[in-house]
């Protein structure tokens, strides 16, 4: 399987920025590449391996170890629902169910139109506003089953 359509110039540029030390900057290279492509396509990982001399097996090992990395395309917006203790105690499960129902996806899935990817996260450190979620880099607190769908809806437009 080849994903030929993927332009490799951006990853070449990202890797070049770390020419002083590829090895210990592998995670940073992968993070920047994922920001660029939205996920980590196979051809990009191969290109990183070719340029840095880091074996593809090690790269794959790192990618699959950290929950931040994904090998499949993600939606335009990422929704991270907090699964922390305070959120758990304050009823995040119902909020999560409401989002799942609204987007018609389960955890880890992306909507058919590639607008949203739904994830849960261990804790985003805003426990005082529990239950909480993050849409991209923005925090939304004190969620209820009534408010959460409206927030998501705003991002659909």
């Amino acid at each position: 399987m080849k994903d030929k359509a993927i332009e490799l110039a951006p990853v070449d540029k990202i890797v070049a920025g770390y020419s002083h030390d590829y090895d210990s900057n592998l995670i940073a290279i992968l993070q920047e590449s994922q920001d660029e492509y939205g996920y980590l396509p196979k051809s990009v990982l191969k290109e990183i391996s070719r340029l840095t001399d880091v074996p593809l097996t090690r790269i794959f090992g790192v990618v699959t170890f950290y929950s931040q990395f994904t090998l499949i395309p993600r939606g335009k917006h990422s929704i991270k629902i907090c699964n922390g203790t305070a959120c758990h105690v304050r009823g995040v499960d119902e909020v999560k169910d409401r989002v799942k129902e609204y987007l018609n996806v389960t955890e880890g899935q992306t909507t058919a139109d590639y607008q949203f990817t739904l994830e849960t996260v261990a804790c985003i450190g805003t426990c005082f506003l529990a239950p909480v979620m993050m849409v991209d880099d923005r925090y939304f607190g004190k969620l209820t089953t009534d408010t959460v769908a409206d927030i998501v809806k705003e991002y659909s437009n």
Binding site: C127, F128, L129
Partner: protein, 548 residues
């Protein structure tokens, strides 16, 4: 514009020029622009800016963007400081009410009642009268919520980098370590290891290259003090690192931050850039010949990376898996060089200890733990937020006096301390003075300071299952006791919560907990059974009710 500081005198001169600015006759309107952003603080801040410009009030009002002001339950919050009157605290501020705040409170000094903190039907307008604030002792959070975290000038005006200059010009490295050891400070990240001792090990370790790491991989669900410190006062952490670097003899440091904390990363990045411009980071710092620089490393979402050997592997660009100790990082850590790792809160304490002295610091707290501890108060409690109190304060004071008690009619059931490595403390221990040892005796741990309050509505078996699910997902899989033990315990707990448990389950849980605790490779597995054991110890009736 930031000018390079060539000497200690330059730093003092910069602070003195700042002193003048502080005395200006403006009303200061400080808005929390970190955690409160989740409830619209950004919009409120922008509206203030717009109104001040429109009404041409630039000479009368100074709008300041601050870090966490602590009383997060009232978000978005702000403080108004008239030049010669007490601070007024407002909560649940909205864009619509900004013009009223300006015309009534800022210009006329009149309080808007509906924005004030209320307790038992009584409105309390002044910050220092609110029990949430008056009963705290802010040492580490001294600047948090007061200064603009993106302004190194404001940090320096508050005597910032003064302690570092003292450590650099008046103390030799051994003296710094003696002072820190004497202060009795212990690591705030969870394990509570004496900081001075740790620094001493690294100083004595053989090798020319030594590394210093700030562990900002705050992963415990329910803890958010490190996030607040980095967002609200990043220079305090940098200053603490500079002092630590001088003490152990390191020229290169790393801050390992969670990727889930974008505001913290941005404030820290800005703070490092400012410190470099002023020559507080880099070569020949303040003309002393001392070199130190910092680099940010972003985590990629793995709880186990809070463990120091796993964190080191992650900085090296590998899978974040722990390895057996010894060798300890102090002798062989990052790239096999001597490495010292401290937590954010620990490092933010360091400048205060150097500035005020170990004897002063030791007066705070108990014999097992000096200084203060920041608790992240959340769950079923009225005043959720950040609370800094001296060690030895009781849970009752934190939850009821400062936290305002439990909302609604349901009563207090337990306080979960220390996250997935900790335990649930029941009502009978509410009057226990909290320090490292006392908390351990009742089956929890101080941990990073997460404090989640649970009311009578919360099922303790469900909580125990919740934490087990968390550690099971986060177990890196390297050692069998943790990988299999957490899975088996989770299976049993899930069965019990579904009402399908059997009598033998409790004994099986206890046995597996013992094996996982004693045979796991790192702290994650060794402490993973704590929530199960503490709930069995105090809430056995709830297990029995589900098993019947």
């Amino acid at each position: 514009m930031l000018k390079r500081l060539k000497s200690h005198d330059d730093l003092i001169a910069m602070r003195k020029s700042g002193d003048k600015k502080l005395k200006q006759d403006k009303v200061k309107a400080s808005i929390c622009m970190t955690g409160c952003r989740a409830l619209g603080a950004q919009e409120v801040y922008e509206e203030f800016g717009k109104q001040v410009k429109k009404q041409k009030l630039q000479d009368k009002v100074e709008v300041v963007e601050t870090g966490c002001q602590g009383l997060c339950a009232r978000a978005p919050v702000m403080t108004i400081d008239p030049p010669d009157a007490p601070s007024i605290f407002y909560g649940r501020v909205t864009v619509d009410i900004v013009p009223d705040i300006i015309s009534n409170t800022i210009l006329k000094g009149e309080v808007i009642n509906k924005l004030c903190y209320a307790s038992a039907g009584k409105k309390i307008p002044y910050l220092n009268d609110i029990p949430f604030y008056s009963r705290q002792n802010k040492i580490v959070l001294r600047n948090c919520g007061i200064i603009d975290p993106n302004s190194i000038e404001q940090y320096i005006e508050k005597k910032g980098y003064d302690a570092f200059a003292k450590a650099l010009f008046e103390y030799d490295p051994e003296q710094i370590i003696r002072e820190i050891t004497k202060s009795g400070i212990r690591g705030r990240g969870g394990a509570g290891f004496p900081t001075g001792l740790k620094w001493g090990f690294c100083r004595k370790a053989k090798g020319d290259t030594k590394y210093l790491i700030c562990n900002a991989d705050e992963g415990d669900p329910g803890a958010f003090m490190d996030r607040a410190i980095l967002e609200g006062d990043p220079h305090a952490v940098i200053e603490g690192m500079l002092i630590a670097a001088r003490a152990i003899g390191s020229e290169k440091g790393f801050v390992y931050v969670r990727a889930e904390y974008p505001i913290a990363v941005s404030h820290l990045r800005n703070a490092i850039a400012q410190a470099r411009k002023l020559n507080l980071l880099g070569n020949n710092i303040l003309g002393s010949g001392f070199n130190f620089d910092l680099e940010i490393k972003m985590g990629a979402g793995a709880f186990v990376c809070g463990e120091e050997t796993a964190l080191i592997a992650s900085i090296e660009g590998k899978r974040g898996m722990p390895r057996p100790r010894p060798p300890f990082p102090a002798n062989s850590g990052l790239w096999n060089k001597p490495t010292n790792i401290n937590n954010v809160e620990t490092l933010a304490n360091i400048p205060v200890i150097i500035a005020e002295g170990a004897d002063w610091y030791k007066q705070l707290g108990t014999k097992n733990g000096s200084g203060t501890k920041i608790f992240a108060l959340a769950g079923k409690v009225k005043n959720t937020g950040l609370v800094e109190v001296p060690m030895g304060t009781t849970l009752r004071e934190i939850i009821f006096d400062i936290g305002g008690g439990i909302p609604g009619r349901r009563g207090f059931k337990a306080a979960q301390m220390g996250g997935p490595s900790g335990g649930c403390v029941p009502e009978e221990h509410l009057d226990l003075p909290i320090d490292y040892e006392s908390v351990k005796e009742v089956g929890a741990i101080m941990g990073s300071g997460g404090l989640i309050v649970m009311d009578n509505d919360t099922s303790m078996v469900d909580i125990s299952r919740y934490f087990m699910e968390f550690v099971q997902e986060e177990s890196c899989g390297k050692c069998v006791p943790c990988r299999v033990g957490t899975r088996k315990m989770l299976d049993i707990l899930t069965r019990i919560t579904k009402g399908e448990g059997c009598k033998e389950d409790i004994e099986d849980l206890k046995e597996m907990a013992y094996v996982t605790q004693t045979a796991s490779l790192c702290g994650l597995g060794q402490t993973a059974p704590n929530p199960v054991l503490s709930t069995i110890r105090y809430f056995m009736n709830e297990y029995e009710a589900l098993i019947k």
